[in-house]
Symmetry: C2
Subunit: 295 residues, 2 copies
């Protein structure tokens, strides 16, 4: 089984002080710390670790002994509760813990909810690691890989551009409905002619700004995003359509536009962290529609 | 009719070189320029004009003769077409023309759609004025005034806080449905227990960041916003609910959360610009749902 991949992994693990023997012994009693998990992620992600990044230990210390790992899209209080209930005391989250991309806590230092969340993490001996930039930086992008699997779009990927997909021509409304069903989205928002024939699709998971939204739209019939500003890219798409361009925009919602990427992350982590259980914790769509209320 | 208001207006107009006689003669043949319209807005808005502001002449020159004025929420290409068709060659828009809050054109200088929009404005002798900061700065907030009228919430305003409203207790889903019907919103998104009794409502029209979203939420059962980041305020509201707080968030969509404020703006403009026709140009919600496609 000495494939190039395992060779590299064995080399990396050895360089971190692990032996292959230790690695293949799952759930051993040897202590694994949060710092060691982060070191292994850094060694395995395949790109140099950035100096400027949001990928930091947001709560807890590197010394915390890890009993289990939860990968998740967003470390909400609900997710933290569910992780703690399962004995998974290290949470690896794609989105922020403290309500800002940089997890800046100064503005909310005095906020009772922030204090409650911080205390919950402390009292349960938890560590929370923000894993955003380098999971996108992984080649192929870890989030995109998970989303493509979830949607079953592996065969539709363009050979030149991993964000671009080609489909058999389908009217926009039907195409959008198909995604909404697969990802169980209640509040998907679509712009464009419902009858627009969809063939080429550009997908940019998560938040998308005007740039690179504009060049993305230029390359496809439909641009799919998680979240975007109404006064920027949405206005641009409306104008593109008003000018006669045959274009559309599908807004999935941020969570469901990336979540499957963290499901895949749990699998990826298992490849080099055999000592503790690793589980993906899913969240449902945050929103409901007034005509279809949901708890 | 020498009320304090008309006195002040007459004084202001006189100081700008207009006489009362000229003012009360509608649609006269005397040339009114875009620069004069802006000067009158500055003189009438009731707050000092800011040095740092997005409220600028985005397209056209101050010398352009104004034949008619369109007030609108967002100067999309569709709105510009409709204004030009009606002979309204000055557009006063609350949201950007060029896809960014600051109407920054450098990133899109080479973009064909930007060039087409700019050419359309030039070829039709139009002027576009961004009227955002000072319309919010007007007391009471011009956008809020229009929205409250549209919703018929005048009797519900809190005497101490113009963003706060009190209602007879209504379950959240029903309350949200009522707003969706009044504002004709197809893609409203709601977070919270559908049965939550709604009594106190905080409304912050347009885009709302984590701050001041957090203190707004603290003061009411429900916070209503136009648009907000899922990884900031949405996560915070989810956590508040998970922690046991009886709270909810209603996301209207940006356009319909402020548009009636620009309907009111047309009325307001008529109070001190009698020479030319002034019309509000409405836009429909940009989005549709896959299960309810719309053109």
């Amino acid at each position: 089984m000495a494939t190039p991949t395992t060779s590299r992994r064995t080399f990396l693990m050895a360089s971190l002080g692990f032996t292959a023997t230790k690695l293949i012994k799952p759930f051993s009693h040897q202590v694994l710390t949060a710092g060691q998990v982060i070191d292994r992620i850094k060694a395995s992600v395949g790109i140099p670790w950035r100096e400027q990044t949001v990928d930091n230990l947001i709560a807890g210390t590197p010394e915390i002994p890890v009993k289990g790992i939860a990968s998740t899209m967003m470390a909400t209080l609900d997710v933290l509760h569910r992780a703690a209930d399962k004995g998974l005391n290290m949470v690896i989250t794609h989105e922020p813990t403290y309500y800002s991309h940089q997890d800046r806590t100064e503005p909310i230092q005095q906020d009772a909810l922030y204090q409650l969340k911080r205390s919950f993490i402390q009292q349960h001996g938890m560590a929370v690691f923000h894993f955003h930039d380098h999971w996108h930086g992984h080649r192929p992008d870890g989030i995109a890989t998970g989303m493509i699997r979830e949607l079953g779009w592996e065969k539709n990927i363009d050979s030149q551009n991993p964000r671009l997909f080609t489909f058999q021509e389908t009217p926009l409304a039907q195409f959008a409905q198909g995604i909404a069903s697969k990802l169980t989205i209640r509040t998907m928002r679509v712009i464009g002619d419902p009858q627009l024939p969809v063939r080429r699709v550009m997908a940019s998971w998560g938040n998308v700004s005007l740039m690179p939204g504009v060049p993305y739209l230029a390359q496809a019939d439909v641009l799919i995003v998680g979240e975007t500003h109404e006064w920027e890219l949405v206005e641009y798409v409306q104008d593109a359509i008003a000018s006669g361009q045959k274009k559309a925009l599908i807004i999935l919602g941020h969570l469901l536009s990336e979540q499957a990427g963290m499901k895949y992350c749990a699998e990826w982590l298992k490849g080099f962290i055999p000592e503790v259980p690793i589980e993906f914790i899913a969240s449902g769509e945050p929103y409901w529609r007034p005509d279809l209320p949901a708890k």
